[in-house]
Every structure is written in structure tokens, then in C-alpha cells.
Symmetry: C2
Subunit: 97 residues, 2 copies
């Protein structure tokens, strides 16, 4: 899988306002009401990761979830990363409804 | 809840060989066969955290889980942190059987 150029990444990020590009990966931070809500979202994201066979670097402290996604094999950001980011957004937005 | 002294912490860590004390918290790193096994352990740990009403700072990348525990309110390490660390050890050891 080809890595995307910085321009291609920035263009795709226009559709993901909560995500930023730095350190050769795309990153987002989500805040939930409490740990239970946060971990519930993580569980749903975990199933999606397995389905896509693509896994993030993620950190949780109580109600806050920080996620970084890159394609280690390609040493950069690829379409695969945006596919996972959009899947995560769909899960988190659903929780916010 | 009172914070423990460095001596008290080191003494308690003798019973937790996989854990280290630094940066005012206790830390451990666990490696699993794959993401599914790792996240399964995280789910069981999450329930324990809710039961104890105490939550770690934890990071996952594929099959690796890094956990840091401290008592933010006390600004240090307390008995509460060791209670959670032992609960986590019990879950991870069970998975290794």
C-alpha cells in the first residue's frame, strides 16, 4: 500500500475535522462522560480494527481516549489509516447521539 | 488515602516482579499473542477498574499493553494502586494458563 503525500493527507483530513497529522501519523482525542462510555466505544472500535485488520496506537485515561493511526509496514499514512479513522468517527458520533 | 513512601512501594513491588516504580507511578508492560487476546484482557481489566473505581493510564499497540497506575487525588502511589495492580496480575496470569 502506497503512503499518501502530505497534500493528500491534508485534503482527506478536511472530512475529519477532529483529526490532525503530525509525527508521520494521524491523531485524534475523544472525551466521553466517564470511563464506562469511553471503554464501550473502545470495544466497538476494537471489533472494527479486527475486521479491517488494522490497529491503532491508543491511550486511555479515565474518560479520555487518544488515538494515533499509521501504517507501520508502509512507514507512513495510507488509505487504510483513513478507512479506520472514518470507522472510528462513525462509532464515536453514534455514541454522541 | 495516604501516599506510600519509596521504601513502602519497593517492598510491595517484591510481590509484583513485572512492575516498576518511576515517575511517581507504578508501571508494567504485558505482551499477548495478538490484538484479540490483548483487548480481551483489557476488557476484563476494565470491569475490575469500574468495580474498584480506580482507573489506569494505559496504552495499547496491537499485542502490547502498557499500564501506569497512580492515585491522582493523592499525587502519588497508594494502597489503592497496588490493589488494582494485583487484580490486573490475576487477570493476565489467568490468560497465560
Amino acid at each position: 500500500m502506497n503512503t499518501l503525500t502530505e497534500n493528500e493527507i491534508e485534503q482527506r483530513l478536511l472530512r475529519l475535522p477532529e483529526w490532525d497529522y503530525f509525527d508521520n501519523a494521524i491523531h485524534a482525542e475523544f472525551e466521553f462522560d466517564n470511563f464506562k462510555d469511553c471503554f464501550s466505544a473502545m470495544s466497538r472500535i476494537a471489533f472494527e480494527c479486527e475486521a479491517l485488520n488494522h490497529h491503532p496506537d491508543w491511550t486511555n485515561v479515565y474518560n479520555v481516549l487518544k488515538i494515533s493511526i499509521s501504517t507501520h509496514d508502509a512507514n507512513g499514512v495510507t488509505e487504510k489509516d483513513f478507512k479506520l479513522a472514518h470507522a472510528i468517527e462513525a462509532i464515536v458520533e453514534e455514541d454522541e447521539e
